[in-house]
Each structure stands twice: as C-alpha cells, then as structure tokens.
Amino acid sequence: MLSRVADSLYWLSRYLERAEHTARMLDVHLNLGLDQSQGMSVRENRERLMMSMWQTAAGSNNVLDDDYRLTDYLTFDTNNPKSIVMVIAAARENARQVREQISSEMWMQINRLYLDMKCATMPEIWEHQPHEFFRMVREGSHLFQGITDATMNRDEGWQFIQLGRYIERAASIARLLDVNFNALLIDNEAGGTYLQRIGLLKSVTSFEAYCKVYHADMQPNWIVEFLLFNADFPHTIRFCIKQVCQALEDIAVKSGRGTNNRLQRVAGRLQSSLSFDLVDDVLSGDLHRYLFDIQHQCDLIHMALYETYITYTIEASA
C-alpha cells in the first residue's frame, strides 16, 4: 500500500485513541471531584491530569482554577491542539485523506463523530451531564473500532490502524502511571486514597478487570503490576506491545520487507522486557526511570516504523 496511506491510517487511529483517552480521563476526574473532601488538593489533581496527557497549562493560566475551564480547555479549545475537538478533527482529516482506503461505514462513523463534536458546546454539556457527553465520545471511538473490525480487510491498512492505537495506548498508560504513582502512595484519609487508586484504574477502563485478578484490594504495587505486565487485558502495556509486535510481523510479511530489521528488534526487545521483567525488580529499582524508558521505546518504535515503511530513501528501497 502507499506509504502516505499507511501514515494516515496510523495517525487516524492514534488520534482517535487519544480522543477516547482524554474523554475518559476527564470523565473520571470530574466524577472524582464530586466525592473529594476539602483536604484533597484539587489543583494538584488538575495538574496531574494535564501532565498525564503531556499537556501544560502554560499560556492559559486559569485553566487550573476550576473544572469548567479545565474541561473547556481539554475538550473544546481550538487553540489547544490536544483538545478532544481538535484531535477528532485531525483524526477525520486523516480519514479524509484516505477515504477510498477505508470502508464507507468507517468514514461515515468518524464523520458523524466529528459533526456531533462540532454541534456540542461547553455550556450545554456542563448544564446537562458532562458524563453523557464523554460517553458519547468514547462510544464513538469504540463504534469506529467495531466497524473497522467488521468492515475492513485484514490487510496492511488494518494493521497500521492497530499499530497506531496500541502504540498510543501503551505510551499513554506508561505516562499515566509515571505521573500518578507517587500520589497513589499518599495515605491521608481512608476514603480519599481509595478513590485516587480507583480513579487511576478507571482512567484506563481497568477497574473491573483489576478486581477480577486482585479483588477490590487497591494496592499501588499491584496496580503497577497489573497495568504493566498483565497479558490478557487490552489496556495494559504488555498487551498493547504484544499487539504492536503482531501487527509489525504481519506487515513485514505482507509487504515482503521481512523481519530482519531495526524496527522488529526495537519492538521485540520491549516486548520481551515486558514479558520477562520481574515486578519486584521494577518496584525496588527506579520505577520512574522504567516507565520513562517505556515511553522512550514507544518513540523509537514510531521512528523505526517511519524509516522502514514511510520515509525510506530510494537507495534503501532497492
């Protein structure tokens, strides 16, 4: 397939995953806000929320002052390239570039999500239920994934869509853990800490899955173990990287490029470390560094992907 098309499918999927992630994080944040007693530092929570999404409040000083401004900034602000409305517009723009490559059902779904976003306004969703709105965004993304699975050939394009989604997700989970782990350890009030830990799991839809493994016992170490190393749940880093490796192998075969290259090595190395590293080592060592390294590895995979399939030189292709 055309390199440009692969590029667009990859980003379409990354952006949609990003929109879904932002919507879920905001939803959980607003929900937690309802329960928090006065002792909790709401401002710090907002700061961590922003950092979890690689966002800074620079230049828009008052977004941390209240949840209305924060939500507006992360959802509707067209000056914020990472706001949900901008991210969905970017996803749609990528879809528009490759309309003939995706099924018409896929296009119609992403177009509808985009049009729904354009109709929504901050006062309106605040007045009604922000929760309903964020559910609409999440379901819009889920529906797109379902439609993709139901209507698209399992060709390279489909694999690039998988790649985009799982690389974005793996990096987001690593970042989320990285930013929030210290806050999980603080044991101030019985209820407050518990809520923080549940909130983290819910931000990546992992609460119920976690409970199935560890019951409702919220231990920071177990949370880390689950989100890093669980092999079966779609919102864990290990699961995501396994999907990335599978997609890469499939693309290597379908394109005839083979698996003996830097891209496969970088991805395979990360996968094996997630499969065989011991949680005790990770926790007793430098967790921050470990999580930071995962984000870095995701970047390396991204760059190697581009060197191999998208922006290669004439000499390299011969």
């Binding site: 055309l2 390199s3 003939e100 018409s104 119609m108 177009n111 390279e156 998208i310 004439i314 292709s317």
Partner: protein, 487 residues
C-alpha cells in the same frame, strides 16, 4: 418572453412555461410529454409533505456519505453538499441515439485534430484553422510537438456540455477535454434516486449507468504498454483540498486503483514509481486529475507543489501513459470551438450531427464590432476559463460590468468570444416545497479507448436560482438524475 396563460394544479401551482424556451416536461399547450406522463401523474398523487420527506432523505444521504465539493475563497465551511434535485430529467431513446452518434463523431474528430496539430499541422497548412489561433492558445503545449502518445489517443475522458434549444434539438455549448469532473455526481444521483423512488424507477425502463467504472478502467488499460498484461494504473489527485477530491476518491474506489498524490510518486531514470510500504513500485498509466500547468514543476509551472518532478520526461520517453494527454486544452479553447464543425468536416468528411451555438470571435474585426455593439444581448466568455468563471451574461449585467468587458475585449481580443444568450431548456425541479421550472443543461461523459463508450445520460446540471442561466456548482448550481429510456 411572456408568461404562459396556462394554469397548473398543485404541486405545479407555481409552474410557468416561457415562450422561446423548451420545457422538458410539458408541451406548449401544457400537457405532459409522453415520456414524462408517468412521472407527472405520480407527482400529482404525492403530497408536498411526502415530496419534502424524500428530499430530506436524499439530502441526508449525501451529507452522511460526505458527497461534497469545495468552494474556493471561503474560510468557513468550505465543504458543501452539491444540491440534489429530487425529480429526474428524462430523455427518450431516439433523442439519446442522436446525442450518442454526435458525441462519438465529435470526439473522434477532436482526437485526430490534436494529433495533427502536434505533428506538423496539416489542418493549418490547408488553411482550415488559422495558425495564430492555435499557437496563441494558452493551452497549446509546444513541448508536445512530435511526441507520440499511446495509441494516438489524446482525450480518453471527455465531458461535453449540451444544451437543448427552443426547437428541442440538442447543441454543443462547450467541450471539456482537460480534466472534466462531475461524473461521480451522476453515479451518486442515480444511487440516491433508486433509494427514494424505487417503484417508479423500476417501472420506467431506465438504462443503467453503473458500468461507468468498468468502462473507464478499460479505457485506461487501453493506454498501457501492450506487452504488460497487468499494468499498474493510478489516479493522480491534487489532494483533499481540491474541489473535486470526493470524486477522485469515489472513482479510485470504483475501479480499485490507488489514489495517489504528487508526493506519492517519484521519477528515477525516466521511470515513474510510487512509494509503497513494500518499496517503490513502477507506474504504467496515470489517470491524472491535475491540470497541465501543475503536473510537473520541472516542465511547466515551477511553483507547483502538486505535481511530480520529472514526470513529463518520463512521459516523453514513453515510460508512462497519461489520461488525458498533455496539451488537450488547445482543442477546448472557446475560440477553437468555433472551428469544430469545420474540423469534423475536414477529418471525417461528415456533417456535424450535433450543431454548435452561434459564436463570435472577438479576434475577428467584424465579429468584435458586432459584439461590442451588442454586449447587453450576448454572453461573453474568456476562452481559457471553465467553471463559469470569467463570464458576462449581457441581459443580466450592469453597465459597469459591460464597460469592463468592453475594455478587456479591446485589450485582448483573442481572449474572448461571444454567443447569443441561449435560453437553456427548463425542467421541473422541487424547490422550497413546490415544483417549479429551472434551466438545465446536460453533460454526458465520453470515454475514448478501444472504441467510444458513453454511458446513457450524464450529469444534468440545474440553475437552482430562479431565472438564472448559470448551472456551475461553484455558482449556485445543483444537479439531478438523468434517465435515458429504452425504446
């Protein structure tokens, strides 16, 4: 022109017949023509609400499929739905048979003409067409002289605009030999029509048009090198910001071709490749939807970001085929149009089956004097423009506009032609809850490959503003489904 004394019953209450203007549905005494009778009777049965409901269903279908075009020069909402009119335009098989023969004759003559003027120009030395007319056309490509194009086919895809005159005959208004667009609307209109009026459609005996994709693919295959049984054919688009981008994706999907942009292609040792995840892949035929000017920054406009550097040399070396060929615009120059009947006679020794519209060439002194004196009655057009730009419609113009055109004509007579203001025929349209009559034209799509194929019908464009004669989508036009009936 006087309004007719005939009165119609709802939903035709606002319908008016105009003398001097052919009505597609009604005869002069206000009874429906035979081939329109079933539609007419069905419309009398339907309530306004039902019609409105169907119009809504059709509009939604276009919006959700994203069937849009881009209007240049607007920041907000640059994507618009191409307005779709609910009521079909119907053409009988006898009428169609004349159109078909006429268009085949015309495309054959124009292909011979293009080959001739780029190879010595016999028609020029025989003084049938003046040499300065050809060499001064801004679409004449010197670079194409003595270049042999595959199978001598210059124009593979042509869209010819026809209008129906007051006496009911069809005439050619203009040829589009460069990158004609609109065929996707023809196909989409038909799909929507089948959805909103399934029973009526089924009972009417309408000839199918769905094989257009296959026919276009065959036309493009015909240009591939004969030794290659499995040529790589691509559709080259300027990209998503082009007004016809929807159509490019639509056609690529219809034919199963890669839709490429300039940045997907590169030329190495005079061979064109596309950049794929599997490495570089050689390209044999390009259905290009980019104008000559922008197709190769090395050969033509150096500031073009849309094209492929080196493409023209690969083309000249015979390593890649282009549809349409480069330089075809010289034959749809509006001043060259004047000579097409003579061109047909010269190459085919036949009389033209479809007439031209009377045309005055401003480069001719007598013609120009007449044009300047009658600006308020004539339509003046710039010869190299399309899409309804660069036009003066005399009867609808202000004194100031006429003065501007007079000065422009005197400054550059070669650049202008004039034609009498033609009353395009009118057809019933569903406008704001009523059925009213609006001016329409017809653009059939002609494919010239192994033989000449024209799917029955084409795009009927509608001037949706009351009284307007301009049907271009960029100027407030819409379109409707076109039915060509079996015997």
């Amino acid at each position: 022109m006087t309004a007719s004394p005939h009165t119609f019953s709802p939903p035709f209450a606002n319908y008016a017949l105009e003398s001097g203007c052919y009505d597609e549905m009604f005869t002069d005494n206000a009874s429906p023509r035979e081939h329109y009778r079933a539609l007419h009777d069905r419309l009398l049965d339907l309530t306004q609400e039902e019609l409105g409901y169907r119009q809504q269903a059709a509009d939604l279908s276009f919006l959700h499929q994203g069937i849009t075009f881009t209007v240049y020069g607007h920041e907000e909402g640059t994507e618009k739905i191409f307005p779709y009119d609910l009521l079909p335009r119907i053409i009988t098989s006898v009428e169609w048979s004349t159109i078909e023969k006429g268009l085949q004759q015309r495309i054959n003559a124009l292909n011979l003409f293009l080959h001739d003027i780029y190879h010595g120009g016999k028609i020029i030395s025989d003084r049938v067409v003046p040499y300065d007319l050809i060499y001064s056309s801004k679409h004449f490509r010197r670079e194409m002289r003595n270049v042999d194009v595959p199978r001598n086919i210059y124009v593979s895809v042509c869209g010819t605009d026809l209008i129906r005159m007051a006496d009911g005959r069809f005439a050619v208004l203009e040829d589009n030999l460069r990158v004609p667009s609109g065929v996707s609307y023809m196909l989409a209109n038909r799909q929507v029509m089948k959805r909103v009026f399934p029973h009526m459609f089924a009972n009417y005996g309408v000839r199918p048009i769905d094989y257009y994709g296959q026919a276009l693919l065959n036309t493009l295959r015909h240009l591939a090198p004969p030794h290659n049984p499995n040529p790589t054919i691509v559709l080259l688009t300027p990209g998503v910001y082009n007004s016809a981008y929807f159509e490019h994706t639509f056609l690529a999907r219809l034919m199963g071709l890669e839709l490429v942009e300039g940045r997907d292609l590169l030329v190495h040792n005079h061979v064109v490749y596309m950049r794929t995840t599997a490495g570089l892949r050689r390209v044999d035929v390009i259905y290009r939807r980019i104008d000559d000017d922008f197709i190769d920054p090395l050969a033509f406009r150096g500031d073009s970001m849309l094209g492929v550097p080196g493409l023209f040399n690969a083309y000249r070396a015979g390593n890649v085929a282009l549809a349409n060929a480069i330089g075809t615009g010289v034959a749809d120059d509006k001043a060259v149009y004047y000579y097409v009947p003579k061109i047909i006679k010269y190459y085919l020794n036949e009389d033209p089956i479809l007439p031209n519209i009377d045309t005055y060439l401003c480069m001719d002194d007598t013609h120009r004097k007449y044009v300047i004196a009658n600006l308020d009655k004539l339509v003046v057009k710039a010869v190299g423009e399309s899409g309804g730009y660069g036009m003066l419609i005399g009867p609808h113009s202000t004194q100031e506009e006429r003065n501007n055109f007079r000065d422009a004509i005197n400054a550059n007579p070669r650049n202008y032609i004039a034609q009498p203001t033609i009353q395009l025929s009118r057809a019933p349209c569903f406008v704001e809850g009523q059925i009213e009559s609006r001016h329409v034209d017809l653009r059939p799509y002609i494919l010239s490959g192994d033989n000449v194929t024209i799917v029955p019908g084409g795009l009927t464009r509608v001037a949706l503003r009351r009284g307007s004669l301009v049907v271009n989508s960029s100027q407030g036009g819409g379109s409707k489904d076109t039915w060509v009936l079996y015997e």
